[in-house]
């Protein structure tokens, strides 16, 4: 069960070299103590005095997530007047994301927008004169968060969650109507049926969770554009990247036939990859439109992946592309490295800009792809590519809600296995229903009673 200790990223997730995760509440020190080790790999957090800062590592299980400085501020002399721990880590979103998730996994819950400020005020830490500002922050931030949570959600995920919720409320209504009107509705043999349904539901939620881990339940991601000439291997690259994903994969056709959009996840960062049509023969009218479009995508992109066929000589199309990606954050892939090379890194160094990372790949033999992923991770790790933190938090919040749902459903499964009576099932099913509702911004209200009366004929 989650505690009332809250956690959030306290710094902006832009191009910053350091970031801070803040944790506040009664269990904050206990929670961080579970994941922090000093240089000698010792669990020492609880021994630290208040208002001190310490070097060490954050662990997720046995794996080091990051090298950090952890500061402790014991109550009442902290921002919220509760026990507060702040983890100072590297600034990239991969790190911040991983650390926050690790903290959540160990018992904290994701703070609501403005919740630290709210606590600070309620605990007397913020001056009375700022009360109105505090209320304004809470109200506006929540409004945005609520809008975003649904807005960012992919259509099919929204539909999926809707239908899962419908299934769940139906089961609860059935149990409840049988409990409320045992003479009209019988539960004989029901448990076995429910057990199968619960296993299915768990399965579905697990799939969604995997999708959430891969950033696939939300639309937004780091805008990534793949450019290159036809036959350079762009689509093969995309297929390789996507093909490894085990969760739900969707193709969303772009605004035109020749633009393919895919979501993939690298190191916890959601990339929205746009595969542009090959750029060549700029005299052709239609192709010219294609080039213009590619140009536009490149302009808007956060990250550019330039796929070059290294077995053929560079031509004017390549030079055109190089011009487009000049001074932009890009990764150049020398594809078809299984064939004889006709170009080398040197051909690019002057032209594609200093920031480019160059990697040899063969999409045919699946080589160099890992290096490519590593390179992307590093870019984010160092905070060299910024991300929309709203989106990331939305994703985290939804993931948290899915995890809560999963927990509740597993609880139902356990109750069935433990031969508990039926009324114990509906309590956890209701929690699952409520948690799923959070994802699509729906509350529970009178849903159950309405479902009971609309689906089941009961009463004297």
């Amino acid at each position: 069960m989650k505690t009332d200790t809250i956690a959030a990223i306290a710094t902006a997730m832009g191009n910053s070299s350091i970031g801070i995760i803040r944790i506040s509440g009664e269990e904050s020190i206990d929670i961080v103590d579970l994941i922090y080790r000093n240089k000698k790999n010792e669990r020492v957090l609880k021994n630290f005095k208040t208002h001190t800062i310490h070097y060490g590592y954050i662990f997720d299980g046995n794996e080091i997530v990051d090298e950090v400085m952890v500061s402790i501020m014991k109550k009442p002399n902290s921002f919220t007047t509760e026990d507060v721990v702040e983890i100072n880590c590297h600034g990239g979103i991969i790190v911040l994301n991983r650390i926050l998730e690790t903290v959540l996994k160990n018992g904290a819950r994701l703070a609501y927008p403005g919740e630290f400020t709210k606590r600070a005020f309620l605990n007397g830490r913020i001056d009375l004169s700022r009360a109105e500002a505090v209320m304004d922050i809470i109200s506006s931030k929540n409004e945005t968060a609520l809008k975003n949570s649904v807005k960012h959600l992919r259509g099919f995920v929204y539909k999926k969650i809707k239908s899962l919720r419908e299934n769940i409320i139906f089961e609860i209504a059935f149990i409840e109507s049988a409990l409320d009107d045992p003479e009209h509705i019988s539960l004989d043999g029901y448990t076995d049926k429910l057990y199968i349904k619960i296993k299915d539901l768990i399965n579905e939620i697990e799939k969604l969770l995997l999708s959430a881990q891969n950033g696939k339940i939300i639309k937004e991601g780091i805008k990534t554009v793949i450019v290159g000439k036809p036959n350079a291997g762009k689509s093969s690259l995309l297929n390789l990247l996507v093909g490894e994903e085990k969760a739900i994969v969707t193709d969303i056709a772009g605004t035109t036939r020749d633009i393919i959009e895919e979501n993939i996840n690298i190191g916890g960062v959601n990339l929205r990859i746009i595969d542009t049509a090959g750029i060549h023969n700029t005299e052709d009218m239609i192709e010219k439109i294609g080039v213009d479009k590619a140009k536009k995508y490149i302009e808007e992109a956060d990250l550019i992946v330039y796929v070059v066929d290294s077995s053929v000589q560079l031509d004017e199309n390549d030079f055109e592309i190089m011009k487009m990606i000049e001074n932009r954050k890009s990764v150049v892939l020398f594809n078809k490295s299984d064939l004889n090379a006709n170009i080398s890194f040197e051909d690019f160094i002057d032209k594609a800009g200093d920031d480019s990372i160059m990697i040899k790949t063969s999409t045919k033999e699946n080589t160099g792809i890992d290096e490519f992923e590593e390179a992307v991770k590093k870019l984010f790790f160092k905070g060299e590519i910024s991300s929309d933190d709203e989106v990331m938090i939305t994703n985290l919040r939804q993931k948290e809600a899915l995890e809560d749902t999963l927990f509740s459903l597993q609880q139902v499964k356990k109750s069935i296995e433990g031969e508990m009576p039926e009324d114990f099932f509906s309590i956890d099913l209701m929690s699952a229903y409520a948690s799923l509702g959070k994802i699509i911004g729906e509350e529970v209200e009178e849903d159950l009673v309405n479902e009971i009366f609309s689906k089941f004929c009961m009463g004297k």
């Binding site: 069960m1 009360a131 209320m135 109200s139 409990l179 409320d180 509906s426 309590i427 009178e446 009463g459």
Partner: protein, 637 residues
């Protein structure tokens, strides 16, 4: 000449709510008058002949633990009793008893007649008397000073409890035959509505219905399934000796409607006042008429029909499941398609009844009108349905009217303490558009709110109020001690992996032990129970049955119970944050428009209550919390 009398409390209506309210006030020493349009209709059961049932049984036990009368009265007058949901977990076990209606009514009347400080008065109450007040710490703008009867007598009093049931401007409909009466042909109360409107009280119109009663001699029971009561009857009241309720019980019978029944109904829908649009009131979805069932669940081939006796000294049988407002000829034709009812003779026709009731959001959780000091309200007038719901509210309204006059703190029972708390909170906090019926699914902490522990939950409150004797209270205190002691003992008695113990487990299909465990851990196994464990627990002391029951439940479901207890802790935090009565929501910045309107409309007493109002989001609650903190700090300055 105008007659004037002076009393403490006036209770308007002597149904299930009125009886509890009047008894509570009189028992607390206040001079009380209970008004009824007919003394013969005291504690009348104009619909189903039973008390209790799923979640309603909980209400009766809670009411009993608080010092109410319903439980004792049904124990004296029941003719069949059953514990429902026995195989489905302790939280949903629920008692239901068939009542001898006439006896129930008579027994309750006897209690009222013999209660000190209580006077019964047969006259219609026409007008409430009040005056305007100005008070700083009070939202109310009015105060009750008395009431006026149809005969012109004025009763001066300090508090009035309205328990008018379904009588206000009532009309009964049986097809085209419409009569302006209350239930059972009793006189409707036609004057009070205007007085309430004059006071600025918002009213609405609800409807409900009842099935036909038939002559037992015209029914062929051989075509029906006989249904018996429990072998061992458990009483409703904690004060009833279980030996006193082991009586000879009568049977009920089950039969079914069929396609022919449904066809007759479908063909005559245009003659149903509801489907013809003559009825304006909103009916309960819980007790749909047979017309509703056939229309809404058209894929159901048959509906159950329960034939229940109305009493021992009458031939009338209640036709449960087939309430209707269809015309008499259609009713007879439809009933006669049901196996066993082919030759039935109807004594009383089924009918629908429409009546005025209040919008309960005008009430505090104490059941006092927010705007009128001294005015309380309970029962169907508050928009509920059911005898038990009515009685529970009547008791709370009665207790609080008394506490008010005695200058004591009024009693609020919250959602984590009792079904009564859930019932009242739902009524005063949510938008209810139909007669409200208690359901187990409405109680989010129901694992804690069991019918078996109502005494442990509520005896103390009843004692503090003064309706429970010291002896009764001490009994519960002692019971609690025994329970705690036994639980501690079971958690400390170690059971080793000896061969005799393994053999014992094997006998009951329970997996063998690898290491030692304690008795409590074994008790958690579904295949084992307290009784079985006696074989490996020789030091056990003999304990009363009700103590063992609690021990077993608390250990077997410990994990679930603890989770609910933690949720209750969170819940209580918000309930404790009270909202000042003079708070102006227009002064709270950043509230969303919808939330602001709803909060102004409901004026919740606590942040907890505010959070349950539909349209108020968690962010609005955060804003409200910050505002209240600001308000508090400014006040301290």
């Amino acid at each position: 000449m105008e007659m004037r009398e002076n009393v403490d409390v006036c209770v308007v209506g002597a149904g299930h709510a009125g009886c509890e309210a009047a008894l509570a006030c009189a028992r607390l020493g206040l001079e009380t008058v209970i008004f009824t349009v007919s003394v013969d209709s005291i504690a009348l059961m104009p619909c189903n002949p039973n008390v209790g049932g799923s979640s309603k049984g909980h209400l009766v036990r809670e009411l009993d633990a608080l010092g109410g009368e319903m439980g004792k009265n049904i124990d004296k007058t029941f003719i069949q009793s059953k514990m429902l949901n026995i195989s489905k977990g302790p939280a949903v076990h629920s008692l239901r008893a068939q009542a001898d209606k006439a006896e129930y009514s008579r027994a309750m009347r006897k209690v009222l007649e013999n209660q000190d400080h209580l006077t019964i008065k047969q006259v219609e109450v026409c007008e409430l008397l009040w005056e305007n007040i100005k008070s700083l710490n009070e939202k109310a703008t009015k105060r009750i000073i008395g009431l006026k009867t149809f005969t012109g007598t004025i009763f001066e009093c300090k508090a009035i409890i309205l328990c008018t049931g379904t009588y206000l401007k009532a009309r009964c409909l049986c097809g085209e035959a419409i009569d302006y009466t209350g239930p059972n042909g009793l006189k409707a109360a036609n004057y009070l509505t205007d007085s309430l409107l004059d006071m600025g009280i918002e009213l609405r119109r609800f409807k409900t219905g009842t099935p036909a009663r038939m002559d037992k001699r015209s029914i062929d029971f051989s075509k029906m399934e006989e249904q018996f009561g429990d072998e061992r009857v458990i009483p409703f009241s904690f004060s009833t000796d279980p030996e006193d309720v082991q009586i000879n019980q009568v049977s009920c019978y089950l039969t079914y409607t069929n396609e022919r029944t449904h066809e007759i109904i479908r063909n005559n829908l245009d003659r149903s006042p509801i489907y013809a649009g003559i009825i304006e009131g909103t009916g309960p979805r819980y007790c749909p008429s047979i017309e509703d069932k056939v229309v809404k669940f058209s894929n159901k081939e048959r509906h159950q029909v329960f034939i229940e006796p109305e009493g021992l000294h009458t031939n009338e049988m209640y036709i449960g499941g087939m309430s209707s407002s269809l015309p008499e000829d259609v009713q007879l034709a439809m009933y006669r398609t049901v196996p066993g009812l082919e030759n039935c003779k109807i004594v009383r026709n089924a009918y629908a009844i429409e009546y005025d009731c209040i919008n309960p959001k005008q009430l505090y959780p104490t059941l006092r009108f927010k705007d009128v000091k001294g005015l309380y309200s309970g029962g169907q007038l508050n928009g509920s349905s059911g005898y038990e719901e009515a009685a529970a509210q009547g008791l709370i309204a009665g207790i609080n009217a008394a506490q008010f006059i005695l200058g004591k703190e009024e009693l609020e029972i919250d959602r984590s303490e009792a079904y009564i708390g859930v019932l009242i909170d739902d009524l005063v906090t949510k938008d209810n558009f139909e007669p409200y019926r208690m359901l187990t699914s409405r109680a989010e902490y129901r694992l804690l709110l069991r019918q078996d522990n109502a005494d442990l939950r509520l005896r103390k409150k009843g004692f503090q109020v003064g309706l429970v004797t010291e002896e009764e209270y001490n009994f519960v205190v002692n019971k609690k001690k025994l329970i705690d002691k036994e639980i501690t003992r079971l958690k400390n008695v170690k059971i080793g992996a000896s061969s005799s113990n393994q053999k014992f487990l094997e006998k009951y299909g329970s997996s063998s032990l690898k290491t030692g465990v304690n008795l409590a851990e074994l008790l958690c196994r579904p295949e084992l129970n307290y009784d079985i464990l006696k074989q490996i627990d020789p030091e056990r002391e003999e304990l009363p049955k009700d103590v063992i029951e609690q021990v077993e439940i608390e250990i077997k479901y410990e994990g679930y119970i603890e989770r609910q207890l933690r949720q209750v802790e969170q819940f209580k935090k918000m309930e404790k944050k009270k909202i000042p009565v003079d708070l102006n929501y227009d002064d709270v910045p950043s509230l969303r428009l919808e939330a602001r309107q709803k909060l102004k409309d409901f004026h919740p007493v606590s942040v907890g209550q505010a959070s349950r109002i539909s349209g108020v989001s968690p962010a609005d609650i955060s804003v409200l919390l910050v505002y209240l903190e600001q308000y508090k700090r400014l006040a301290e300055k």
